[in-house]
């Protein structure tokens, strides 16, 4: 069993320490803006459970349902929605004693990699408040990096857990598709996404994953983890994706090379490979993601819940106005794209072709893992970029998803981990494993922990030392 080193004793259960905790979080988060709602006292949080996570405050991305908490998805259209039920993954953590203290900011419906697409708040990077925390789980990453919670949930559709984790200097896990129930996760691209975890403690990550994973009768795409697990023992060979010189910023490239060297020094065999289909990953990803999004987001129409205009001529007019006024620009763009690629007569050209690319990529990765235990890759070409369009416009951001969305197209698990800090900003890498090979990811991260110790940003809240 992993030994969790995080100390959260009494943060929720001791009334004085709790008050001190709440004060500190409010104070620090004024600058960072990681929470869209912070409700540590909501009825229903049972602080008496003595499980593995007894009394641990956790944060949940605001596209995952927790009874009584808002479920805004960072969107105007769901600004007033309160969740009537709890996601399976959250329920399992609560059953193990975790207490949801708040819901974190995100790019609207998970669409973005900067958190700047949130309609409801601005989150900044705790390491440098002029920079973005990444996205779309930027609020969760920032909250964990700043020490506000030891553990946060995010969702990873194309890198939405790993990229903000990378930008904020924390661990971020995208589990195998189907290993964690999606029940309660607001769907953006159903066939690609999964609930993931962000934390500074790799042992806590493994424990939390163990609690959350497994078949769920409410999600027919979930699978039994025990029946499929790939053991973490005896990993020896790592392949590194060969990446062109111009693809990565220098600090990112350096961290990547250093990781390879550290692995060699630790006795792993490390070789380079290339993936012939890598160039097709981003177009295929956006075709599938937007197609599914165009259907998934159709339900938001102002009738049963969420934003409704003050006046409408008739039901059709109501739907039109609610969607026109309720959705942000990026969301509308992706719905339009998805509608376009699914048109009858054009499916072979777009959606069908993207599915073929997906199959091709799966096969390429299968062959990689037939001879290697792990695949090492960069997470994102840059460190956390500046707010606004000055460094990364929307189009560049999408191209930069290439390293992360590979795991989503293939369904494979991937873990991003911090390597160091350069220019006051974290750097990191990610490992990918075969399906259900999360144990390998935890193991390699643990092996690198002492070589690349985690660092803390300014104003870090050490909840273990609260009085």
């Amino acid at each position: 069993m992993p030994q969790i080193t995080t100390n959260w004793s009494g943060v929720i259960t001791n009334p004085e320490r709790k008050q001190s905790y709440i004060r500190s979080v409010r104070e620090i988060d004024k600058n960072i803006g990681s929470f869209l709602s912070f409700n540590p006292d909501l009825p229903g949080s049972d602080t008496t459970v003595k499980g593995a996570l007894g009394g641990m405050p956790i944060a949940v991305k605001d596209n995952i349902a927790v009874t009584g908490h808002p479920l805004t998805c960072g969107s105007r259209i769901l600004e007033n929605l309160v969740a009537p039920y709890t996601a399976t993954a959250v329920q399992r953590l609560e059953d193990a004693g975790a207490v949801v203290v708040g819901k974190t900011n995100l790019d609207e419906f998970g669409m973005g990699s900067s958190n700047e697409n949130s309609a409801l708040g601005t989150t900044v990077n705790p390491w440098n408040n002029d920079r973005v925390p990444g996205g779309s789980s930027g609020g969760s990453a920032a909250a964990v990096a700043a020490g506000l919670v030891p553990l946060a949930l995010g969702s990873d559709t194309g890198g939405s857990v790993r990229q903000p984790a990378n930008f904020c200097g924390v661990y971020g896990l995208k589990p195998t598709y189907g290993s964690v129930s999606r029940f309660g996760l607001t769907a953006y691209a159903s066939s690609l996404e999964v609930i993931g975890t962000l934390t500074r403690d790799i042992d806590l990550m493994e424990t939390a994953f163990g609690i959350m994973s497994g078949i769920d009768e409410n999600d027919q795409s979930s699978v039994s983890y025990e029946d499929s697990v790939v053991p973490g023992s005896d990993i020896s060979s790592v392949v590194m994706l060969s990446v062109g010189n111009d693809m990565l910023d220098d600090p990112v490239a350096r961290a990547y090379m250093e990781t390879g060297e550290a692995l060699r020094a630790a006795g792993y065999s490390v070789t380079e490979i290339s993936l012939p289909s890598l160039d097709l990953v981003v177009p295929a990803y956006y075709t599938i993601a937007t197609a599914e999004a165009s259907a998934n987001l159709a339900r938001f129409n102002g009738i049963r819940y969420g934003y409704a205009p003050d006046f409408a001529e008739n039901p059709a007019d109501l739907m039109k106005k609610a969607r026109h006024e309720g959705f942000g620009r990026e969301v509308k763009l992706r719905i339009l794209l998805g509608t376009y690629v699914l048109r009858s007569g054009f499916q072979d050209q777009y959606y069908g072709r993207a599915q073929k690319i997906r199959t091709l990529i799966r096969k390429e990765l299968e062959s990689v893992f037939s001879s290697a235990d792990l695949l090492l890759m960069p997470v994102f070409p840059t460190q956390a970029f500046l707010k606004g369009d000055s460094e990364m416009d929307d189009f560049k951001q999408r191209l930069a998803d290439v390293f992360t969305c590979l795991a989503n197209l293939s369904g494979l698990p991937a873990l991003s981990l911090p390597i160091g800090v350069e220019n006051g900003l974290p750097t990191g890498v990610q490992f990918m494993a075969p399906s259900f090979g999360e144990q390998r990811l935890f193991k390699v991260a643990r092996n690198l922990k002492d070589t690349f110790p985690l660092q803390t940003p300014p104003n870090y809240l050490d909840i273990g030392s609260l009085v």
Binding site: Y85, R182, S190, N218, Q220, S221, R299, N301, P315, S344
Partner: protein, 480 residues
């Protein structure tokens, strides 16, 4: 000249039935009619964010059962797609429906169009889907009831193999009977548990399909016939004058007995189908297929044919008895219990039917069971009671819930068949009616009926008719 003599007529159907399941298609809400609005709803069928569909295994089973009964190739693997379109009563604004891999395809059903013709109708496919909610417009506002949202629906699509309103009505009635036999649906068109849209086209002989018109809003098989015949005549009229049809959707107006334009199709609807990512494909296992097999019953047309042959029934009798599965079962059980098939058939279709209608009971609910019925018919056959008395006994079975023999005993209704007893009665009648007796003797044979009537009256209908008749004859002859 009639339309059919001049043109080929092509009619195809899209039939929707609500499946008889406890719960909805993709959640555990009750699938139940008549409850207060928005009572049977949950986050899943209301389309709340983050919810996922869970397949109702029973609905899948019923889908396979119908597909099999319609002679379809049933799917080795079946899956769902999303059919995307916006409608205020559809919670997700897409319908989960089977598209690429339905439960059954390429079916073939024999249709019995009476004596004239027996033909095969091809079934394009049978697929499962979910129903939408209901909109109620009330003045300035629109109300929504989602009780029906997520109800399991089965859609049956035929090829354009039907040729007239009459054929189509008969096909629909056979279809209703079929799904009721299987117990998969109530299939009531007026209550909304079955819906039927029709498409119809006419063309010059041998030219293939013509311009298609879709018909909706027909709330009974009879209206389907009327709407189709109206359309066939309308099309023929246009073609006769060299005109051409417009592809459109029309509604049947049952108050005016005409069809009216609902919308013209400028472009085909684009539903942007794609595979439902929230649900894995369904591959039936052995246990599932065994359950489907166990659900198969003798189908109505087979049953009708067999009943007719096995019990030498007339077409009308067979038609009546096979109409409801319960009647057929009752009939066969009665025969097994000793009833004469011909008698049983005629009693079922006349007196029993009348009593059931009057008491608004079904055969299964009524106090009459096959054993009692066989006993009753046996009493007539053995000459213990007359047909007339039997009717009274039947009434008593319904009102008092007793066995026929007990009723007859209690009421003293056994037939008088002792010759001496009868002779006393006959003599009494003759004595009381000397004029009539003289008239008969003088050759007015017709008046003998009057005397027989008196015998029956005096005996409270219990006198054995044949024996009484011959005694009367004998006494009339003797006294001459």
């Amino acid at each position: 000249m009639k339309a059919h003599d001049k043109y080929d007529v092509f009619i195809g159907l899209e039939i929707h039935i609500h499946l008889n399941t406890e719960s909805k298609m993709f959640c555990s809400c009750k699938a139940h009619y008549g409850d207060d609005p928005n009572k049977n709803v949950c986050p899943v069928c209301l389309g709340y964010p983050g919810t996922l569909p869970l397949l109702n295994g029973k609905a899948m089973e019923l889908g396979y059962l119908v597909a099999k009964s319609l002679g379809c190739k049933t799917a080795i693997k079946t899956s769902f797609s999303r059919k995307n379109y916006f409608y205020p009563d559809m919670p997700k604004n897409y319908q989960i429906s089977q598209f690429e891999e339905p439960v059954g395809v390429d079916g073939l059903v024999e249709a019995d169009f009476g004596l004239s013709e027996r033909r095969k109708i091809r079934i394009h496919d049978v697929h499962l889907e979910e129903d939408a909610g209901k909109m109620i417009h009330a003045g300035d506002i629109t109300l929504l009831d989602y009780n029906r949202a997520g109800y399991p629906l089965l859609e049956i699509v035929t090829e354009p193999d039907l040729r007239s309103g009459e054929e189509t009505e008969s096909f629909l009635r056979d279809f209703q009977r079929l799904v009721r036999y299987l117990g998969v649906s109530d299939a009531n068109m007026d209550e909304g548990s079955m819906k039927c849209d029709a498409n119809v086209s006419l063309n010059h002989p041998g030219k293939g399909l013509g311009t298609k018109v879709e018909l909706k809003n027909m709330n009974s098989p009879r209206f389907v016939r009327q709407a189709l015949n109206y359309e066939i005549a309308r099309h023929a009229g246009i073609l006769d004058t060299g005109g051409s049809l417009v592809q459109e959707t029309r509604l049947w107006n049952e108050n005016r007995d005409i069809t009216e334009v609902m919308r013209r199709k400028e472009a085909a609807d684009d539903y942007r189908y794609f595979p439902e990512p929230d649900m894995p494909s369904f591959v039936p296992d052995k246990a599932f297929l065994a359950r489907v097999e166990a659900g198969m019953v003798e189908l109505p047309l087979e049953k009708k044919r067999r009943l007719k042959a096995e019990y030498s029934l007339t077409s009308e009798q067979a038609e009546f008895i096979h109409d409801e599965a319960a009647t057929a079962v009752f009939f066969e059980e009665s025969v097994k219990a000793g009833a004469d098939a011909q008698n049983a058939a005629s009693w079922l279709s006349s007196d029993i039917r009348k009593l059931l209608n009057r008491s608004s009971l079904t055969l299964e609910e009524s106090p009459l069971d096959a054993r009692r019925f066989a006993t009753l018919l046996g009493l007539i056959k053995e000459g213990q009671i007359s047909g007339k008395i039997a009717k009274k006994v039947l009434g008593k079975i319904f009102s008092d819930n007793l066995d026929p023999r007990d009723i007859v005993t209690k009421e003293g209704w056994f037939q008088i068949s002792n010759p001496e007893e009868l002779e006393v009665i006959v003599k009494k009648v003759m004595m009381e009616n000397p004029d009539v007796v003289s008239a008969v003797k003088a050759g007015d044979i017709r008046q003998k009926g009057f005397l027989m009537g008196q015998v029956m009256r005096i005996s409270d209908g219990k006198a054995a008719p044949e024996l009484s008749g011959s005694i009367l004859d004998e006494l009339l002859g003797n006294s001459t």
